[in-house]
Amino acid sequence: MTSTTSTVLKPSPSALSNDKSISQWGMAWRRLRRHRLAMIGLVILAVIVVSSLAADWIAPYTFDDIDLGRTYAPVMSQGDVGKPLHYLGTDGLGRDVFTRLLYAGRVSLGVALSVTILVTIIGVVVGAFSGYFGGVVDTVLMRFTDVMLTLPDLPLLLILSSSLRQFVALQDALGDALGVVIMIIVLTLFGWMFDARLVRGQSLSLRTREFVDASRSLGASQARIVFSHIVPNALAPIIVSATLGFGGVILSESALSFLGFGIMPPTPTWGNMLNDARSAPLQYLFVQALSPGFCIFLTVLSINFVGDGLRDALDPRLKM
């Protein structure tokens, strides 16, 4: 019998080509970079995100700076003496539209990001455990998911967002952030079901793979198997779904705010700016409605481009 330690194998050619083998994420990033629309989307998104975050420095005014002497000022009109131009004019209360767009972006993107993260976490946990355990756990969780899916979400969103506002305890605890927090809760409550179903499907097929059996025979706990084997392997579709969901949340938030059930003035969001534009006289309507509308349009479009790019990049069947 030869000693095992002396027989060291030659590496396979693919392993030789570079010193450290690139992870699947590295390969995905390479593919994403070749997806032109996704890269354009990423750049536009970056500009929107950075300018919203930097609103305190970029914005010429504060978002609740009322100037009743200059309502519906036209684009590029003068402000007070010594004050900067109103680049996109002012709204019905004389507030600078450009400034409000920047701050609104902060709120809209912040809400969308929070909701997307929460929805993804809940969806992943529910879906992964449902699929992994199967049986009674699966039946209970999935029927609950089905019930949530059958509920008409818009009326419930309206009722919830207005009724939650009535609680004095919530008002005291959250103060000005109340509207934003309610919006996040309400949208999360009705958003996690699709992710849960998606992850459940992945989990169902992953749990039969041998590496899961291997982990079990090593004595791994159920939670360890779910979080270190099932979830990482189901991550690609989750990321795509989260990206596309992000755009959806911006739209939902805008819709709710437009209907007046979302985040209340003076906090600006793109949705309640659209709502304000409704009451503008006809000749001002276009500028008032188009500026937040265009922001929503551009953000959601970019996100969808990125999502499409990610879907292609993360598909393991596509080799470079």
């Binding site: 194998l9 025979s217 392997n233």
Partner: protein, 347 residues
């Protein structure tokens, strides 16, 4: 002698399986009601001695993989007992253990899988795969963990520098070595090898088989070697157990079983082994019909519809496993009376 196989159990035995059953419900129709059961393993008896390799053979679908996984408690047994001679706890009944208790036993029994592509998590580096058993059981951490993984990779013939790579960068044989390193990490006593080489090229098979033999020698391992390739099993096994439709039909030392089989099914299997010498060509034994269904097995001896020696008793009475010769058991009514052909020993 009612239960000759079990009568052997003693301190030199590591694993003892008695009347093991694993049934799968067959669901059909709109409301998914049970319409039958697949008796994948239907009353399996065997024991594995310390330090030996017991080959478990049978054709596709005879339940040998299910048996291996049920013994590992990766599947819940429907019935029977699985007794394991744990180095710390002594004899324990695995089928009675709960999850927590099993976790204390698992380090001593590991499994090597058939498919080297499905058995390694594609999202983990080799380091994380091989270190997983050590991390889960809190055996090592930090630099010590690193050293242990490097040593394990060296032991299975891989370079430690590869540990930051992902499984997709390796060939089938290399991946199987990674799986072996993972199984070795906890210094197990028993390793269930679930067709460890059947997914590999023949030349790679030989390397992996030799590695398994070397490791057995170096680490005093006991193998339950599940396979369908009779020449591989002949090479590596001290004793061989033959399964047919979920049951053990014959168990003997490798040479005895191959040269002088005592069950007609084993005879047919041996006749199917390709012989490397054209002068030694003889007629294969053709088995009429299909493998018996594990959903509706035939009455009496499961093999009787295909057996050329079958008599009336075979279709009515279930043959018990009986000792034909020392350490040679066969579940045939006429074991010892028939003159069965084995393979001819080559020198």
């Amino acid at each position: 002698m009612i239960d000759p196989v079990i009568a052997q159990s003693g301190d030199d035995v590591l694993l003892e399986v008695k009347d093991l059953k694993k049934y799968f419900p067959v669901r059909g129709g709109f409301i998914k009601k049970g319409v039958g059961t697949v008796k994948a393993v239907d009353g399996l008896n065997l024991f594995v001695k310390k330090g030996e390799t017991l080959g478990l053979v049978g054709e596709s679908g005879c339940g040998k993989t299910t048996a291996g996984r049920t013994i590992m408690r990766l599947m819940e047994p429907t019935g029977g007992t699985i007794r394991f001679n744990d180095p710390k706890q002594g004899w324990v009944n695995l089928e009675k253990m709960n999850r927590q208790q099993m976790r204390a036993i698992r380090p001593n029994m590991q499994i090597i899988f058939q498919d080297p592509f499905s058995s390694l998590d594609p999202r983990m580096t080799v380091f994380r795969i091989v270190s997983e058993p050590l991390v889960i059981n809190k055996v090592a951490s930090g630099q010590e963990l690193n050293d242990r993984v490097a040593e394990l990779l060296r032991v299975v013939g891989l370079r430690p520098e590869y540990m930051s790579r992902y499984p997709h960068a390796f060939s089938g044989g290399q991946r199987q070595r990674i799986g072996i390193a993972r199984a070795l990490a906890l210094n197990p006593k028993l390793i269930v090898c679930d067709e460890p080489v059947s997914a590999l090229d023949v030349s790679i098979q030989a390397q992996v088989i030799n590695l398994l033999e070397d490791l057995q020698h170096d680490f005093k391992l006991t193998y339950l070697f599940v396979a369908h390739d009779l020449s591989v099993v002949e090479h590596i096994s001290n004793r061989v157990a033959v399964m047919y439709v979920g049951r053990l039909v014959e168990l003997a030392k490798t040479d005895d079983l191959y040269y002088t089989p005592q069950h007609p099914y084993t005879e047919a299997l041996m006749a199917a082994v390709p012989k490397p010498d054209p002068h030694m060509r003889d007629r294969p034994i053709k088995l009429p019909g299909e493998v018996a269904s594990a959903i509706k097995p035939p009455s009496g001896c499961y093999f009787h519809p295909r057996c050329r020696y079958a008599k009336d008793i075979c279709s009515t009475e279930d043959p018990p496993l009986k000792m034909v010769r020392p350490e040679h058991w066969s579940a045939c009514h006429f074991a010892g009376e028939l003159n069965l052909r084995g393979i001819v020993p080559t020198n």
